[in-house]
């Protein structure tokens, strides 16, 4: 697994612009030739979306900017990778983009946190992760209601 390129948290951003999601990454440690390149989003389901990117020189590194159609990034957290037009290899970037249906688009720079526990379900909803527990919970709830 190649090491991920660090992203400046203070000078990078992602947001909606019209029907697109605009991603601007400041990669302080990266040396890429200014000009055209590609930025790639990939999610946990294996879906990938690539878009042309503009690469410019920035403070001690490069700035990479690309527009993605918002409809193609809907409802997921996306890993990012970049490459110059002349390069073969993708360089993974240490930042992700979250595009949720009910919240602002968010650039999430830094390493991905490890979330170990399953998302809890409200007490009045049966758990979909454990059908035996869900059945037991429904029985207990029914007895309590009697």
């Amino acid at each position: 697994m190649p090491e991920k390129e660090p992203v400046s948290v203070v000078t990078s951003l992602a947001h909606r612009r019209g029907g697109d999601v605009r991603v601007v990454l400041h990669l302080p440690g990266l040396d890429l030739p200014p000009g055209s390149g590609l930025l790639r989003c990939s999610n946990a389901d294996g879906r990938r979306v690539r878009r042309p990117a503009t690469i410019t020189a920035a403070d001690e590194g490069v700035r990479v900017e690309a527009l993605f159609p918002a409809g193609r990034l809907r409802g997921a957290v996306w890993r990012l990778a970049v490459k110059a037009a002349t390069d073969d290899a993708w360089l993974p970037v240490e930042a992700r983009v979250l595009v949720g249906p009910r919240q602002p688009v968010a650039l999430l720079p830094g390493p991905r946190p490890v979330t170990r526990l399953a998302e809890p379900v409200p007490a009045d909803l049966p758990s979909t992760r454990d059908p035996i527990l869900a059945r037991l919970r429904r029985r207990v709830a029914a007895r309590l209601r009697r």
Partner: protein, 231 residues
């Protein structure tokens, strides 16, 4: 630190949290980013009902993270919910920088959270925004939230472009002088808390209006303080 004070059912969200003090409450600590937390189907399943009474927003000391946290939190607020923003009153341009240099040179780093608070104040005059003069970098208490209001969410995509700019940040003089800030003792000793408790069970504009009226009666809001020592 703030979690150590809690005695109520609580949720803490931090991608890489560390527990350095004893905690004496029923807490769900979630190891994730706040944006991913709010993308969950039931982020507050740990509570009996998905309503936040008190939220404390740190937001990495960066305006866009803080504004997103507020937008996402407000969806789970009742009229009586209280939202606290940390680090809204930097004492110098260095402390207000988006980079962490302020901490290295001055021992405190507020970041540019003050910009998010400016947006909240200007775009949401329906909210009560109280700056509190705490050491070292101040807090803001936001009252009378409206879970159905989408003004900030719609404005976010334009605002974030103004927020993400190189240091030094343009720090307004009134923020640096803390000219709107009230003393913590005055806020805690004011008569607004019974109105806030009463509003927790209410929905809609009635509860929010009762809080705005209580703040005005207590002399905490700008209109009621015109001509006063903080005006």
């Amino acid at each position: 630190m703030s979690l150590a004070l809690s005695r109520a059912r609580s949720v803490g969200v931090d991608p890489f949290f560390r527990i350095t003090r004893e905690v004496r409450c029923d807490v769900h600590l979630v190891s994730t980013t706040s944006d991913e937390f709010f993308a969950r189907e039931h982020p507050f399943a740990h509570f009996d009902e998905p309503v936040v009474d008190l939220a404390f927003i740190d937001g990495m000391h960066l305006s866009e993270f803080v504004l997103r946290d507020f937008i996402n939190t407000e969806r789970f607020c009742s009229p009586g919910s209280v939202v606290v923003f940390d680090d809204v009153l930097p004492r110098s341009v260095e402390e207000a920088g988006r980079g962490r240099e302020g901490r290295a040179r001055h021992g405190a780093w507020a970041g540019d959270v003050f910009k998010a608070l400016q947006s909240v104040r200007s775009l949401r005059p329906d909210l009560v925004v109280l700056e509190v003069d705490t050491f070292p970098t101040g807090v803001a208490v936001v009252l009378a939230p409206d879970s159905g209001n989408r003004i900030l969410e719609r404005a976010y995509d334009e605002l974030v472009q103004d927020y993400v700019v190189q240091d030094p940040q343009a720090l307004p003089g009134d923020v640096m002088r803390r000219s709107r800030a009230i003393r913590g003792e005055d806020l805690l000793g004011s008569g607004i808390w019974s109105a806030i408790r009463a509003a927790r069970g209410r929905t809609g504009e009635t509860g929010r209006e009762s809080i705005r009226a209580a703040c005005a009666r207590a002399g905490l809001t700008a209109d009621s303080r015109a001509g006063g020592p903080h005006a």
